[in-house]
């Protein structure tokens, strides 16, 4: 009974646990470096009406553009490699070599080539998420059984119809999973990238507050990042619920 309630209100439950820890740390250290949660939350709601909202929106904009670009490139290359084993053989080694490189190390180079503005930051996030989406797409296409291809071909499907009825729906839920993973990474990376040559973005806001020794504002910014992540994750969950009912059923079946 209790467990059922917990799973129903899991976001509230998670927030409560974190708040308790936060209060505990606040009282143990008794220092301004860990401001109390209620003051921070109060500050957050005041700031969100003004400049904090702008910073968050700028960051969200950078992430969304990067996600859209990586989805387009990652999906098309992933689908192509998954469906054409010949090319996959030659291109995959390159992908495996490039995938583990810490792309963040290229930020200085990107800033020199693409300028200090939005472009270099968006490209940095793009090349980080891109690989995850590409490899996921390729592998989920490869994992499709021959039987499904045979059966849809026997119904007379042409290439576009095979994509529409078979390949895209099969890849979609896995794409959402890879988005969940890569969005966490991209927020963290964006935070770093926004420390350079910008006056907007949540990363800038936090580091600026830090430099001004305004810990309450700094924590309000951290809170904002957390909410930004939550919002994106919930959006992805919603998409999955609406468009992939069958995935839920499959998970139930496995229990």
């Amino acid at each position: 009974m209790i467990f059922k309630k917990i799973t129903k209100y899991k976001t509230i439950y998670g927030s409560l646990i974190i708040l308790i820890f936060w209060y505990a740390l606040h009282f143990i250290f008794k220092s301004t470096i860990i401001p109390s949660p209620h003051i921070t939350i109060y500050e957050f709601f005041i700031l969100i009406k003004g400049k904090l909202l702008i910073h968050i929106l700028v960051s969200l904009f950078r992430i969304l553009i990067a996600v859209i670009i990586s989805l387009i490139i990652g999906m098309s290359v992933g689908l192509f490699l998954g469906l054409n084993k010949k090319y996959d053989k030659y291109i995959s080694p390159m992908i495996y070599l490039l995938y583990p490189i810490p792309k963040i190390a290229f930020l200085p180079i990107l800033m020199i080539i693409f300028g200090l503005g939005n472009t270099s930051k968006i490209i940095l996030i793009t090349i980080i998420i891109l690989f995850q989406i590409l490899v996921t797409t390729r592998d989920s296409v490869k994992g499709l059984s021959k039987e499904l291809f045979y059966s849809i071909k026997s119904l007379g499907a042409n290439k576009i119809q095979i994509y529409r009825h078979l390949i895209i729906p099969a890849v979609f839920p896995k794409l959402l999973t890879s988005l969940r993973i890569s969005i966490g990474t991209s927020i963290a990376v964006l935070f770093f990238a926004e420390n350079f040559a910008t006056r907007y973005g949540i990363g800038y806001f936090i580091m600026d507050s830090w430099a001004r020794v305004d810990y309450i504002q700094m924590f309000a910014g951290i809170l904002a990042i957390s909410f930004l992540g939550l919002l994106i994750f919930k959006l992805i969950d919603l998409l999955e619920d609406k468009l992939c009912k069958w995935i839920k059923l499959e998970k139930l079946e496995q229990k």
């Binding site: 059984s145 039987e147 499904l148 045979y150 059966s151 849809i152 071909k153 026997s154 119904l155 007379g156 499907a157 042409n158 119809q161 009825h165 078979l166 729906p169 099969a170 992939c244 009912k245 069958w246 059923l249 499959e250 079946e253």
Partner: protein
């Protein structure tokens, strides 16, 4: 209806079908039986137009087989249902792909679902169905396109005995009522004898036809309860064993 002449099929570099000649008459049924790896499924996919012959010819109504022949239905062992579509959307897929009008699709799909007694399942997803129900849905999907040729690749081999016999009866009924030519690939002797007017026995190696038997008792729904049935089963079994000993 189906004519196969000097057919050779390859899978990569290995020859799977070696020089097969076979005629299957219109409105008849043919069961192709043989050990696994004998090339019987490859032959079926060749007739379906999904795999291409290396040399030789497959003719349907005197036309060489192309991909997407409009009136060929294919039913597979693992049903080939799309997990992300409901039963209704799976069954309507063939008509959707062919660009039928919405009203016609609605009418045809509902009709076939009712005929096969699975109308109540129309809003479920394949994962919510039993194996027998899934195969019924796969049969329904093949029937919506009103095929004149129905190809089945070990359709019932993953089902329990009772579901299997029920579906065999259903297929026999469908064949009789709709004048559909039926080609069935199986490794089950009883199934081959129950559903095959002609029974084609393929050899262990090199995809050759060893024997073709005519089954005079075909079409009797009560066949399983008669001793003639077991005589033919025995005959097929012995022919298959002879091949093994060689």
């Amino acid at each position: 209806m189906v004519k196969i002449k000097n057919l050779i099929m390859k899978y990569g570099n290995s020859t799977v079908i070696k020089n097969i000649n076979l005629n299957i008459n219109k409105n008849s049924t043919c069961a192709i039986i043989g050990p696994s790896g004998c090339g019987k499924s490859t032959l079926l996919y060749g007739i379906a137009g999904i795999l291409k012959p290396f040399s030789g010819e497959i003719l349907i109504n005197n036309f060489p087989v192309k991909e997407n022949r409009k009136k060929t239905g294919l039913i597979l062992q693992n049903y080939g249902l799309l997990p992300w579509k409901t039963v209704w959307n799976n069954v309507s897929l063939g008509l959707t792909i062919r660009g039928y009008h919405k009203k016609d699709i609605q009418y045809n799909v509902d009709k076939v679902l009712r005929e096969l007694d699975v109308y109540d399942l129309k809003d479920r997803y394949p994962i919510e169905l039993s194996g027998g129900q899934r195969q019924r849905i796969a049969i329904a999907r093949a029937l919506t396109i009103s095929p004149d040729l129905l190809l089945m690749d070990e359709p019932f081999s993953s089902l329990d005995a009772i579901s299997r016999e029920n579906l065999q009866n259903l297929i026999l009924k469908i064949h009789k009522e709709n004048n559909i030519t039926l080609i069935l690939v199986t490794h089950n002797i009883e199934e081959a004898v129950f559903l095959g007017q002609t029974i084609v026995i393929m050899g262990q190696k090199f995809g050759e036809i060893k024997n073709i038997i005519n089954n005079p008792y075909f079409g009797d729904e009560e066949l399983r309860y008669k001793s003639d049935y077991y005589k033919i089963c025995m005959e097929v079994r012995q022919l298959m064993r002879k091949d093994e000993i060689k």
